[in-house]
Subunit: 348 residues, 4 copies
């Protein structure tokens, strides 16, 4: 397969940096361009970007010039780490100009003809891009990945929905700092502290899983027919969102049945073979006190969803804890995996 | 009123230190004795106790000798910060010997004739001590306060139960380190991390509020008739437990009605006048991102329960966040307030 | 004594909030005005200020309108928590207009006719305001307090300089987050991390103590004749700067002599009687592992300098650790105490 | 080369776990045995060891039985992560019985005939094992690596000593939690806090570098002829010790000369080719605010010493910051590298 030229829009931010890091040595993609804000345009990525990830900026990336986030970039595929307000207009412009846009922004996620994808969950929704191109008259497209907190929750719910059906899901998150970008949360707000609120997050966590877990007839998605209640907290963790999930199933199941079902969960072959897919999509731990962000977030290179403490609930059927790496599987890594899947399916 | 001599059992531990700190300058009580483990007996409290609280050990306390936790102590009232396994036998022995025992241990909380008290919530349960004395042939008694996480949840539920009734309560906690005593949790477990499990905590949080919110006919308590589902997490906060509560009411109510009900909550006069009672039992904040442990835990000297983010839930009726200082209101301060109440009511 | 009207410039920032907090109930001062940035002007302080300190905003403060930082404010004394670049021109304008300006900004600290004061250290430098008024033709004046890290170091060096003389001082700091204001340091920079650099801080810590410990002949200050080497680190602590000091004395002294000298340190009567002066200016702890920020920063209401680990050095004479509350004694509290002193001396 | 059987003594502790982790897939060594305390003996390593490192316990390790730390183990080489008080007698017993002991314990580090080694610093000291065997009549030997804080300091001083000579070194550390093992430091001691003391640490940091930087004539080591003053602090960082170093050189040098000298530092070929040797022994960063533990500790797989902020000091010649991963290069990784070196030199 010939390598595709890809660009990263908004490459100097925290998620943009993750894109660059994960694209280092990628077998299918070569980064041909990075874009940034006015302040950084014209400088090299090395000079324009304050690298905040552990480890070094890849040398090749440091040499790239930071371009403005405008049409005309030499790339087929565009990864967007743009702020949502910029993504609103820019991403359609790129798609109309023929770029295949894989976006981490929330701006277009809920649009009827925009696929909102987690390869392990709803690979069949990818065909929406054809309807999108047709309806909008685009040669490019926009494909989105979901909110970082919704990611792990949705992956963990998928086998439950398939096996037992779902009625109601209560989700309370303990979210990492990196989800707010850089500089993001003030250190004074999280030293010896918890912030029990994240702007706009609960709405996303209540809506996005239903679209992804819904039925796609090739033309449109019918959202899944259950309810989610979400409460989102920020805690002093660098990476890795933890969510406490309580679930009412359509058909009762014991904790052991749920564990067995989760352990048996295997994505389709085409998904398992993507370069960014981890050995295990969903890992179930049996210790009493796992998953924990610092110890488990790197499972499967940050692409595996880790579940633990699966047990019967005292009121509903089921209770468990789910952990997902919010800037890898929940952001840049997930978007990259989406691009791989659409390429693999011949949809881009 | 003559000052009562009080002893603190297990005074060298973290909760024991809080008892000593809160008893400094107390208008009704004088500390006549402190007890500790074998290792510390015979030394002065200053030498035997590694003081871990902010601020200084009171000078008078430092001069006290550490005694063994045995009968024969010169005191009328005994505050117990003993580990539960020691409390199991020692507290009844003290009560049988005529001491009035106010215990923070979990050992006897659920016994039918032992009052489990939060003065603002169930002051009428205090009379159980009379039945306890009669049944057990004791001149002393055991009075308990509840689990530190249950404290804030129960105070916040009290006005809701009274006004609207309760069906189901889902509680997910983000608990402070000091709840585990000292040394307690290892720093390696909470640096850049969350631990989604606390031994034995969920069971207590599911059971104790029901006893306290139940009906006492003077002889026995009929537990409140609703269900609680609890998930407990440990986070990197020194003091102050945060709990995210989702509630199904018996009779629907809007967020505004709930806020008004909580704001109108006033404990009985006899409770409000206790030395340890705060100006406000329950404070409702209206900012989007409060309560927060570091900024709100000292409200009312650590004795006020702080609620925030009261809002309609997407699935049930109601959702809010509650914060309570776990080693003050949730432990030593609550126990002290209980002793004040029983003294004030002439029950000790 | 009649109460003076005081204003707080830059009252919505972190240091401004400390001024407001410490002025609550002040026996000599009444806050008549608060000023803020353009964004907040015209709103009430309650609405314009995001209160980030533990505890509540005083009710009277919340009712004040936020004014622009301009002349015409109804106050005699002005506390400045302005950013240094604004302070550069604004503070002289206020002083020229007759306001007595007590500034926490660095802009004018090193000017020859501006007193840089710690009441316990160099109260005699206060007379420089007379020269300042004469030279500049002002009826008002500018009085500054020093950098927050320099504060504790200077207080601890004062008795040493007096008793033994000083040759060289090596100071390595572990500084709290609040020193950078709010939002200040990003949480991502201090989670599981240390930042070994603070812009401009080492220069201040190397220069300011020498001015304060210098000789003032009433007209000018001759800086103290010793050298300081400073390295400044940021650590994950909310309040309280720790500095590790190694000192070469002019005249050798044992650790015991140094401890005795520090313990005997008593500021002049006029300073001890100021409302903001703590019972002890300098406290020496004898435990092996103190002072610690969370446990010792509130000593003397945050106005006491706490020293510990005084011991012989392996290369020079002396080594110790000093802790000072950076936003109380090291900022708003120190400035307030300076105003009290000048008032008490009849200099304002 | 045939693979050697190696055992890890004290394998269930934090450093023991690092040994197991780093030995996973090692090209020269196969772990044939792990030992643990009485409590864990007889269980599998999976059951006896509470794995506290990020990532998974290697599967092969989980299957090993935990043996008592006694002679008779089937191994040629023994890595000791024993507590120092156990190491005192056990390590000589193993060496006498013919085992080649590579110890992370401090018990024998300063013995005249025990090599204290950092391969990049003093590979020539390795020959002391021959004298040790001869003197003690052992077929095995004891080889030690140094204190984790001394490691980075010593590596960074090596090129300076060679190029310019050293007179005096002032070192102030900000040390990670993992240096104290597990459970180690209490979370209550490091939440919103710093502890300015670590038992026994300053003595080691003042003595060990001098032995390693001393001259070995094949029979004995003459310590380096300069002085070190050390102050050690514990901060809320999981891994990675930061040390602020101020140095007086024998022969003055500019910061640029020092940087050039450090950058030119290359260990001997035999050291560079060891499996555990990193691409760069010493990395010099030029940003104003690096090295930082979370962002730089994994450099070279945790085996590279990272220096930054090299600059002229205001009193002596030189000032810089050095970072070293305390449980990799500063403990298990360093010990492993020592074993590789002695094997490579034919000394074991």
């Amino acid at each position: 397969m010939r390598k595709r030229k890809v660009a990263v829009l908004g490459a100097t931010g925290a998620v943009g940096q993750r894109f660059v890091q994960l694209l280092d040595g990628h077998p299918w993609f070569t980064v041909s361009a990075v874009t940034g804000s006015e302040r950084t345009v014209g400088r090299s990525y090395r000079q324009g970007c304050r690298w905040v990830l552990p480890g070094e900026m890849p040398v090749w990336a440091g040499d790239l010039p930071v371009l403005p986030s405008e049409l005309g970039i030499d790339a087929e595929i565009v990864f967007s780490a743009l702020p949502s307000e910029l993504a609103q207009n820019l991403e359609p412009a790129f798609a109309a100009a023929g770029y295949q846009v894989f976006s981490n922004a929330s701006a277009h996620r809920m649009a009827a003809d925009v696929p909102l994808l987690i390869p392990e969950v709803n690979p069949d929704h990818a065909v929406l891009v054809e309807r999108q191109r047709e309806q909008r008259g685009w040669s490019g497209c926009i494909v989105t990945n979901c909110n970082c907190t919704a990611t792990g929750v949705t992956v963990s719910l998928k086998p439950l929905l398939d096996a037992f059906g779902l009625r109601r899901v209560f989700a309370v998150s303990l979210q990492a700092i990196s989800g707010a970008g850089y500089p993001g949360v003030a250190a004074l707000d999280l030293t010896d502290n918890v912030v029990p609120f994240i702007e706009g997050e609960e709405e996303k966590l209540q809506a996005e899983p239903l679209k992804m877990l819904g039925h796609c007839d090739g033309e449109r998605v019918t959202p899944a027919d259950f309810g989610i209640s979400a409460h989102c907290n920020r805690v002093a963790v660098s990476d890795g969102h933890v969510v406490c999930v309580t679930a009412e199933l359509a058909q009762p199941a014991s904790a052991d049945e749920v564990i067995a079902t989760m352990q048996a969960f295997v994505p389709p072959q085409v998904v398992r073979e993507l370069p960014s897919s981890p050995p295990q999509a969903l890992s179930v731990r049996r210790e009493s006190d796992r998953p924990q962000p610092r110890r488990d977030r790197e499972t499967g290179g940050g692409m595996t969803t880790v579940v633990g403490r699966v047990r019967a609930d005292s009121l509903l059927h089921l209770r468990y804890v789910v952990l997902s790496h919010n800037t890898i599987k929940g952001a840049a890594g997930g978007s990259l995996q989406n691009a791989e899947m659409l390429l693999s399916k011949g949809l881009v």
